[in-house]
Amino acid sequence: MALSTETLMEHYRRMRRIRAFEEKLAELVGAGRLAGFLHLYAGEEAVAVGVCAHLEDRDYLASTHRGHGHCIAKGVDVRGMMAELFGRATGICKGKGGSMHIADLDKGMLGANGIVGAGVPLAAGAALTAQVKRTGGVAVAMFGDGASNQGQFHEALNLAAVWKLPAVFVVENNGYGEATPMEFVTPVRDIAVRAAAYGIPGVIADGMDFFDVYAKAGEAVARARRGDGPTLLECKTYRYFGHYVGDNLSYRTREELARWQERDPLVAFERRTVADGVMEPGNLRRIDAEVAAEIEAAVAAAEAAPLPSPDDLLADVYASAGGPR
């Protein structure tokens, strides 16, 4: 089905919001205004937004160390995210989580995760809840090419397949695990072939093309909702920044980056929608401006927000203290 202009504008807005958020972070770190390990999602926007376009708040998404884009695509509030990165009491995790642990269960965001591969079984578990409680929801795990070499990937996909869980496993294949190129550590070119090990569909999408991801993710999510079980969806993509902000990039060439940027997901989206006459450049520029202002405001609010109190150090370790006291 064709997407309405309104819907397309919302998808573009989310991709732009991710791009602007990440570029702002790189700028803030460069200026020494922000600290911490930051893994930026810029370049991969079409994957998160193309997949999340099919998800509702009751649907869950388990993310990775590179989670900002997933959070924004799933609808997490950027002000809460920015405040979290600044370690503020107003952060979405009250400053306790930081970049690698942003979560918002109300939005179905099961959390970024600092352990490569750990989100995959978490998503299987959320899908198990949906199946047992018949919520009609689905659960998605997004993870990298490197994560597909983790035992947790294997165990979770096997479990989801044998139990026909309403889950979708999205591999964001950006060709690298930190500094190491995929061919050094993975004997197959397409992670999607691993679906055969679990008797589930393995699908490849162009991760730079919103519409290709949107279409293939749509089928996978529908299949899961129908109760026909999980799909392994591989999206070929690329990260523009290094593994983390500060990475010297000694392991890849400028030319390689340039080649991928020629297929930039936002530019490609604009070209196609404008050519199809469903979008006007003016509207897109307006969105760009609104998003830029939104991010600026988030930074200003975060920098002005109060820090947590050391008295909160022991809060929320347990839901109930237990013990005799």
Binding site: A118, L122, A123, A156, L159, W163, A321
Partner: protein
């Protein structure tokens, strides 16, 4: 006369009660049904767990809520964590705690930390049932007492019963607790009978119990070592030494008050643990008493533990490996002599 049941039956009863009372409680693990639920082949129920602790659950609650898992501890424990934060109350079985080697991350980095990392916006009502301890001639990879690893991890709770009554009450409390709880089942006690009240009751997590009151020396123990301590106390009584035996029941939260109270009463402390000595419960109890309990100490604090070695297979070696009532009594005598 009061109802006598083996610990495994008390655990089974607790599981039946918990599943009947709350539709969000599910049970998953290897062979928890054991290939049951094959009405066609007339196999409605097979093993019900290697010890039978989950017997009858699939027949009563069905395959949706009672699931045989693949041999994928990391995967199904991770899934149990994901299910717990999204609305279920899973009871997962890690057949032997030794298998934590292939199952640690969901406990260490997920279950234990999600709530804190998310600023308190998550609950992880997960219970992990697992068996601990030596004595079954199962050698180094099926006889460990690794509850110190889970006790060391902030965000987890760890409990261990010494008798069927507590096993039932602690398990019901663990399942209903909103935090992740590791429930340790001492292998060597699973088929030992004891009094078990009918119906639904809980034993609060983090409360120790005095298994035997005494005045002269405190023997602090838990799990299978409570029986060893009680036997030692009986032997000591014969020499006119009146030992108090404290059963910790929970390793985290630790009932520090009860430990300091018994020390204040006797002034002498022997801690008994069947795990090796390094970074264990015995050291924690000793360290607590050497700090907050220092003024009560009338002598050194002794620990009777397994040696710093893997568990050997041969019966003669394994018997020498585990703390015995004789060793505990000898150490206590020496403290008083």
């Amino acid at each position: 006369m009061s109802r006598q049941l083996p610990m495994v039956a008390a655990i089974n009863e607790a599981l039946h009660l918990a599943m009947a009372a709350d539709p969000n409680v599910i049970v998953l693990g290897e062979d928890v049904a054991g290939g049951g639920g094959r009405q066609d082949q007339g196999i409605t129920e097979a093993w019900g767990g290697i010890m039978g602790a989950t017997r009858g659950l699939i027949a009563r609650f069905g395959p949706e809520r009672v699931r045989d898992t693949p041999i994928s501890e990391m995967g199904f424990l991770g899934a149990a964590v994901g299910a717990a934060v999204t609305g279920l109350r899973p009871v997962a079985e890690l057949m032997f705690i030794d298998f934590i080697g292939v199952a640690l991350d969901p406990l260490l980095n997920q279950a234990a930390k999600l709530r804190y990392m998310f600023g308190g916006k998550a609950r992880v009502p997960l219970t992990v049932r697992t068996s601990v301890g030596a004595g079954l001639r199962s050698a180094a990879q099926h006889s460990q007492s690794l509850y110190n690893l889970t006790t060391a991890i902030p965000g987890l709770k760890t409990v261990i019963p010494s008798n069927p009554r507590d096993a039932k009450g602690l398990l019901l409390a663990a399942i209903r607790d909103d935090d992740p709880v590791v429930f340790c089942e001492p292998k060597s006690l699973m088929f030992a009978s004891g009094e078990v009240p009918e119906g639904d009751y809980t034993v609060p997590l983090g409360t120790a119990a005095i298994a035997r009151p005494g005045r002269d020396v405190s023997l602090v123990a838990f799990g299978a070592m409570v029986g060893v301590a009680l036997d030692a106390a009986a032997a000591l009584a014969a020499d006119g030494i009146d030992a108090e035996v404290l059963d910790l029941r929970a390793l985290q939260p630790l009932d520090e008050r009860a430990i300091l109270d018994t020390l204040a009463k006797t002034g002498r402390l022997v801690v008994v643990d069947e795990a090796p000595p390094r970074c264990g419960i015995a050291s924690d109890v000793a360290a607590l008493c050497a700090d907050a309990g220092f003024d009560s100490l009338n002598g050194p604090i002794r620990r009777v533990t397994a040696p710093h070695a893997p568990v050997p297979f041969s019966a003669v070696l394994e018997d020498a490996y585990r703390p015995s009532a004789e060793r505990v009594a000898a150490v206590a005598r020496e403290l008083l002599g």
